[in-house]
Amino acid sequence: MNPFSSGTRLRDMIKAIRACKTAAEERAVVRKECAAIRSSISENDQDYSHRNIAKLMFIHMLGYPTHFGQMECLKLIASAGFPEKRIGYLGLMLLLDERQEVLMLVTNSLKQDLGHTNQYIVGLALCALGNICSAEMARDLAPEVERLLLTRDPNIKKKAALCSIRIIRKVPDLAENFSSPATSLLKEKHHGVLIAGVQLCTDLCKVSEDASNHLRKNCTEGLVRILKDICNSPYAPEYDIAGITDPFLHIRVLRLLRMLGHGDADTSEYINDILAQVASKTESNKNAGNAILYECVETIMGIEATSGLRVLAINILGRFLSNRDNNIRYVALNMLMKAISVDSQAVQRHRTTILECVKDSDASIRKRALELVFLLVNDTNAKPLTKELIDYLEVSDQDFKGDLTSKICSIIEKFSQEKKWYIDQMVKVLSLAGNYVKDNVWHALIVAISNAPDLQGYSVRSLYKAFQLSSEQVSLVQVTIWCIGEYGEMLVNNVGVLQVEEPMTVTESDAVDVLESCLTHHSTDITTQSMCLIALLKLSSRFPPSSGRVKEIITTHIGSVVLELQQRAIEFNSIIQRHQNIKSSLVERMPVLDESTFISKRAGSSQANISTEKSNQQLPSGASLKLSNGVAKPAASPLVDLLDLSLDDTPVPTSTSNDFLHDLLDVGLTNSSSSASGTDILMDLLSIGTPVQSNTTPENGSSIKGFNDILPIAKPNTATVQVVDLLDGLASNGSHPGAQSPVHPSITAYQSSTLKITFSFTKQPDKPQVTQIHATFMNLSSEAYTDFIFQAAVPKFIQLHLDPANSNHLPASGNGRITQTFTITNTQHGQKPLAMRIRIAYKVSNQERLEQGQINNFPPGL
C-alpha cells in the first residue's frame, strides 16, 4: 500500500469537495488530492490508477488543470484489463483534445485494440477514435476501420460507421474507400446500423460528388423501401417514441433523400409519393411527429418537388405557425424564410399570422418573425405592413425597439413610392422611436425633404406638430430644428398647404419659441444646440421682426462654456450686428441636395463614417461627410464653411479640418512629394476658386458655384474686412511679421516668364513646427494683372493658414508687388519636408489666366 496515496475513494473525494463552503476550501482539497494523485502516478501504482484517473476527471470538470494525468491515461489504455482500458479511454477523451501532440502516442494502442478479440474493447477504441482523432491518426487507422465496417456484429458495425464519418470529415480524400461499404450498410436490418449507415452516406454525399452519384443510382430504391417499412410498421416497442416507430431513422432517411434529390428531377419524382405519405400520415401532436414533419418539409423544399407537394409543405408550416408550442412556431418561421425563395405567394398568405408573431412574448420568435416580415414586404403590402409595424413600435419592448426601428426605416426607404407617404411615416417613426433611429436615416429624410419643394411646407408643419408631442426624441428634434430654420417662412405663412392638412397658425414667435426651448432645455445635447443656433440665425434673416429677439437669445450664449456654442454665438452675433448687408445672402435657402449622389456616397462612405465617428461631436458636419461632400451640410456647416473660406484662423478645431482633409485628400496624397497621384485631388480642390485652406470643399461643381454666388471671393477686400473683424480679440500668428529671427534663407518658390514668387521664412524659436512664410509676387510681364488670387494646397500632415494679400492688382514689369503671408504648421516636423502646390489666377486685359506649380525647394528643417 502506497504510503502517499490518499486512499480516498472517488465517492469520498466528491463528498469532500461538495462539502466545501468557499472556493478557497475547495482549492485546498483539490490541491491535496492532486498532490496525492501525482505522487501515486510517479510511484507507478497500479492498483489505484483507475481511481486516480476517475478523480482526475472530476477535478478536470471543476475546471482545474490536469495535464499531469495525460500520460497515465495512455498507460491505462495500454494495460490489458477491460476496466483499465475503459477508464483510460474515457480519460483520454475528456482530458485531451485532438490538437495535443500526446494524442499521437495512442495510435499504436488504438491499432491493437481495434483488432482485439473482445468486441467491447474494439467498441471502446472505435468510440475514442470517432470522438477525438486527428487527421494523421485518421489516415493511419482508416484501413482498420474499413475492415471493421464489414464485421457481423452490429454493435461494432455501427460504431465503425460513425467513426468513418469522422475520418472522412478529417480526411476527405479517403471518402472513396468508404463508398461501397457504406452502401452495403443500407441493406442491414438493425436500426442502429441503419442510422449510422444512413448518416455515413449523407456525409459522403457532402464530401464527394462521385459518392453522391453512386448512391443516387444504387440506393434510392432501398432508402424509399426503408422509409416505407418504418412508416407503415405496426407498433414496435423497442423503437417506439410517441406512437411513431423510430423517428430518428425517419429523419435521417429523409435527410439523405433530400441530398440525393436535390437538383435531380428523376430522383425527386421517384420520392414524391413517399414524401407525400409521410407528410400526410404523420401525427403532429407530439414533438417526435413534428420533428419528422419538419424534416419532411425541409426535404420537399430542397428537391424539385411538384407544386402539389409544395402546397402541402407550406400548409404544414401554416399549421405549425398557429401551434401553441413556441418551439414549433420558431421552427416554422425559420422554414418559411427558406420557403420564400421557393414560393413566395404561398408564404404571403400567412402574412397575418407572421405579423402576430412579431408581437410574441418570446424574443427569438419576435426576431425571426421580424426578419420574415421584412422579406415579405413588397410594393403592394408595404403600406399596411408599415402601419402595423409602426403601431407595434409604440408598445414594443425597449430592447426590441432598435431592431424594429431599423427594419421599419429600411422598409420605408425601399418601398416608398410617394414622397408624402415617406415623410409621413418617417415623422411617425421619429416621434415614436427617434432615439433609436440611426443618423443616416434622418439625414436621408432631410435630403428627401430638400428635394421635394412642394412638400417642404407640409413637412415643416408636420414636424412642428410632432415636436409639440414628442420633444424627447433627439432625431426628431434635430430634423425639426433644421426644417424650421430652412423653411421657417413656409411654416408661418402657411405656404403650400395640402388638402389633407388641418389649418394651423404658427407665428414667428412660436417658431422662435421652439428653437429657444430646445436651446435651453437641460437635456439637449451640444449637436442639437449648435443646430439651434444656426437655425436661429436663419430665422433672424427670414423673420426680420424677430431679429431682435433672436439676437438676444444668441447673445446669452456668448459666454457659454462649450467652445462650439460660444464660437457660434459670437460669430452669429457679429453677423447680425454688423453685417446685415450680407446676412440674407449668407443664410439663403440651401441648394438642393443631390439625392443620387447622396445615396452613392452613403453606400460607399464607410471611411467617411469611420472618420465621422471619431470627429468631435460639435459639428453635425461630421454627419455631413456622409452627404455629398461639401454640399449643404445640414444646419451649421454652410455658414461655418463660408466663414472658413474667408477666414484664415478660425478656431475651428483642427481635428475637424483634418477629418475633412482626411476624407478628401486621403485618396491621393500620402507623401508630400508625390506629384502625379496627388494631382487630380489637388486640381479638384483648387478648382473652387477660393483660397484653399486645410478644410476644403471638393469638386461638386454645381453646388460650389452656389457658394461662389453667395460669397464672391473675387473681392478679397471684403473678405479682409470680415477677417479683421472676426479676428478681433483672437491672437493670430500672421500679424507679427519679422518679430523673430529669420532662420532660413528665402527661396524663389516659383518662376515663369510672367510671374515670380519669392518666399521668405520666419520661425518662432519655441514653436519649431510653425513657420511663417511671406510671399512676394512680382509681375514679369509688360501688362498689369488684376484680380490676382493666390491659392495653395498642402498635404495632409501640414496645416496652412492664409492671410489675405495686400492687394489684388499687380503692376507690370515688377513695378509693384503683392505680398501675402501665410502660416504653415508641419505636424511631422523633422520627419517630412514641406511641399506645396500653388495656383495663381489673374486677369490680363480682361482675359483670365491660370498658372500652377509645385514648390519643392523649401529649405530643410521647416
Binding site: 472517488l10 484489463g81 460513425l162 464519418i165 469522422r166 449510422a196
Partner: protein, 160 residues
Amino acid sequence: MIHFVILLSRQGKVRLTKWYSPYQQKERATVIRELSGLILSRGPKLCNFVEWKGYKVVYRRYASLYFCMCIDQDDNELEILEIIHHFVEILDRYFGSVCELDLIFNFHKAYYILDEILIAGELQESSKKTVARLIAAQDTMVETAKEEAGSISNMISQAM
C-alpha cells in the same frame, strides 16, 4: 452534427461536458461561461433554441439540470430535443429515477452511457433497450475483472 454536449446545474455548475469539435481548454471554459449566462437567464416559457455565434444551441431543463447541445444551422432542432429526451430516459432507466446527485457521483457512468448514444456528434442507437443491454454487459465485465483481481490478490496475500 452535434458540436458539444453540456449539462449545467441551475447554479451554473458543470456536470458533464462532451466535445465533438476541436475546442481548446481555454475556449471550452469561455464557451461554458457564455452559454451558462445565455441559457440560465432564459424564462421558462421561451422556446428551447438560442442562436449563438452562428450555431444553434438546443437546451431543455429537466428538474435542476439543463441539457444543452450545440448544432449547426441546418440541423433539425426538434430532433435534437428528441435525442436529449432519449438520453435522459436511458439515464433514468439505468439509475432508476435519476437525479442530479446520481450524475454527480457517477459521472463516469453517465459518460459511458453518452458514448453509447453519440459518437462523432451523431446518433448511434435509437433503441433504449440495446443501449441498456450494452452498458449492462460492459458493467458485468468490469465486475468480473474486479472480482478476479480481488480474488488473486486475496490468494497472494493469504499465501504470504
